[in-house]
């Protein structure tokens, strides 16, 4: 029961923050909190990979990009006027959606749900394909291979007219969830979207907490400790690592899809190296093997960054955080354990 204890607190906090902003008439904070929640979804997936399975990935923005870009491209690419049997078949299957753009022109696009499904499946497939060879590598080679993967995705987004090249894709329609409930960035839908985002994040977190307290979670931690030892007690390490990699890629792609619909667009910088590095930084600050720490730091740092608090020092701040955490608190800020260290220091001196 213990691992689920923080969830009621999270619920109270989420509702409490919303009520507080309503009461103080500062509901605009919810915009950045919503965006931060989606980034946090990616970060907890990465946390599972880095903290529990012990594999670094410097390419997770690539998976975020796959999710966001595919759903954005499919839901904005206008098929009106294109007439062939494939389009008609898709239309009959109910996979297309007709609408009008903000200037009244007719639009016929892939339905957001179909697009989202294709996006997730693509990300999972890509992760599964590259995961096999990539996860055989260790150390610097693994870091560099994942970094290389991220760069390739970034390059493809930047060089393909279908993905809007440098401009990215704009005017992505909302993602309908239930009648009257959709992921959209409209000013009027802010409060509902805040709850949607946090609901999705809580759901994602619940799944991961479940996972790490199951047999698979134990196997993962064994791998992190020592791969040889884990293999010797019968853990299929390659399979367990691959599954984790694919799962975390799916989380990243889902985050990309949701945020793209919320923002109404995506640009190539979302798939860039700096973004991947930033996610790794956040997981590190949260304490590597701490889902709650990663969640907290992801929301906090993204919220501050998206509000423009760091000004022109945005990247520098993240660089500084990375170094400081790795130098002084490699287990994350939440586990600094200042009291315990002080005690140890005192004991060491007393015994002298």
């Amino acid at each position: 029961m213990r691992p689920y204890l923080p969830f009621p607190f999270l619920l109270c906090l989420v509702v409490g923050v919303q009520l507080l902003t309503q009461w103080t008439d500062t509901a605009y904070y919810l915009t950045q909190l919503t965006m931060a929640a989606y980034y946090a979804l990616l970060v907890i997936g990465l946390c599972l990979l880095m903290g529990y399975a012990g594999q670094i990935s410097l390419g997770h923005a690539g998976f975020f990009g796959i999710g966001g870009y595919i759903s954005a491209a499919l839901t904005t690419h206008n098929l009106a006027g294109v007439d062939n049997s494939l389009i008609r078949l898709l239309e009959r299957l109910g996979l297309l959606a007709a609408s009008t753009d903000m200037f009244g022109d007719p639009l016929l696009t892939v339905h957001p749900w179909a697009a989202a499904a294709i996006a997730i499946l693509t990300a999972v497939l890509v992760a599964w394909l590259i995961g096999g060879p990539v996860l055989k590598l260790t150390g610097h080679y693994l870091a560099m291979a994942t970094l290389g993967f991220g760069i390739i995705i970034y390059r493809i987004a930047l060089a393909t007219p279908f993905f809007g090249e440098a401009d990215g894709i704009s005017e992505v329609p909302p993602l309908p969830l239930l009648p009257g409930l959709a992921i959209s960035g409209d000013f009027s839908a802010r409060v509902t979207n805040y709850y949607i985002a946090w609901g999705l994040l809580a759901l994602g977190l619940l799944l991961l907490v479940n996972l790490i307290h199951s047999r698979i979670g134990l196997a993962l931690r064994a791998i992190h400790g020592s791969e040889e030892a884990a293999a010797s007690v019968g853990v299929d390490t390659a399979k367990a690592k691959l599954k984790t990699f694919v799962l975390s890629a799916a989380y990243a792609a889902a985050a990309g899809i949701f945020l793209t619909h919320y923002n109404g667009g995506i640009g190539p910088s979302e798939a860039g190296i700096m973004k991947s590095v930033r996610y790794v930084a956040i997981v590190a600050v949260g304490g590597m093997a701490s889902l709650w720490g990663a969640l907290l730091m992801a929301v906090l740092l993204n919220f501050l960054s998206l509000r423009g608090l760091f000004g022109t020092y945005d990247d520098a701040v993240f660089g500084l955080i990375l170094i400081a955490i790795m130098l002084f608190a490699p287990d994350g800020v939440l586990r600094l354990g200042i009291a315990a260290r002080l005690r140890a220091w005192r004991q060491a001196h007393a015994s002298r």
Partner: protein, 380 residues
Amino acid sequence: MKRLTSLLAALCAALLLPLTAGAGTIKIGAILAVTGPASFLGGPESRTLVMLAEELNAKGGINGNKVELIIKDSGANPEKAISFAKQLIEEEKVFAILGPSTSGETLKIKKICTQGKTILISCAAAELIVNPVSPYVFKTPQKDSHAAAKIFLTMRKQGIKKIAVLAGNTGFGKAGKAQLLKLAPQYGIEVVATEVYDKRATDLSAVVAKLMAHKEIQAVVNWSIVPAQAILAKNMRQAGWRVPLFQSHGFGNIKYVEAAGKAAEGIIFPAGRLLIADLLPDDHPQKPVLLGYKKAYEARYHEPVSTFGGHAYDAFKILCRAIGEVGPDREKVRAAIENMKGFVGTGGVFNFTPQDHNGLDIDSFAMLTVKDGKFVPYEQ
């Protein structure tokens, strides 16, 4: 006692405030790529805005209203531009937003500003920003189609029929490439080859070799805003390829001429007249504006003025003029900008209409060339 007097003073001030007509602050937001890959745009733009706002406030503001400038650095990240736009509209309740620096960011926040009924004057080039036209969205940089037309007119006079097009993989390059390919047939010019290079390209000799193999190419057009403009010029001359090199208005930065050195000589490109302000005839309508901006900027920041900063200059001045004319009422100012005629800026003479939210015509460009490391008017 002290507290009481200060309280009284505050009360008096509060009572007096409504008497001084319209005195208050007008908040103007700006979303600029001050850092990151487009910092060569956002840097001069933000410096220009800071300078102009200080100048304006020192003179007493617009009809007694001080201007408060809120600059947000997006680092050319669209998601940040979106977050900042929402923040500026709802939280800061700004009167208008200037920027963003890049087309991708502007396109992402076009809808947000329209929904939020906030004026957006973009400093980015793509024609999609003002076409289809949104009532609240304007832009100050000249039209890419005009730059392309200007280049083609010059080529036609030289008898050039077959060209190669190169572009950087930025929003600027993408938009320009599209216009070049679209307009070329109208001027009887055939595009033989098209290539796109990375914005951080460090050497282009391989692609120069590839293009050189097409013996029929009579000229090369390069459309980008990145350092590769200088690298391309060097690689072409080193390879001994003597065909004319045309660049876009993105070349309008003396740093690129310095970087290309001797290879920059003879490059032909369209640009706003800011770069040749000193050489304009005295009766040219833009001359006082251009010289005024150039001198003020260069004196303050000790760096040569660039046309990108000029886009921010125009955006700020257009907004201020409209506010000055009709007072700080958003709908009225929007209408005033839409109907503004004969505004002399750094980019040209702006004549807005409800259909044309850019307001510049093809004469906003002059053809320039490089001679002895300096920009001079190009004469055929």
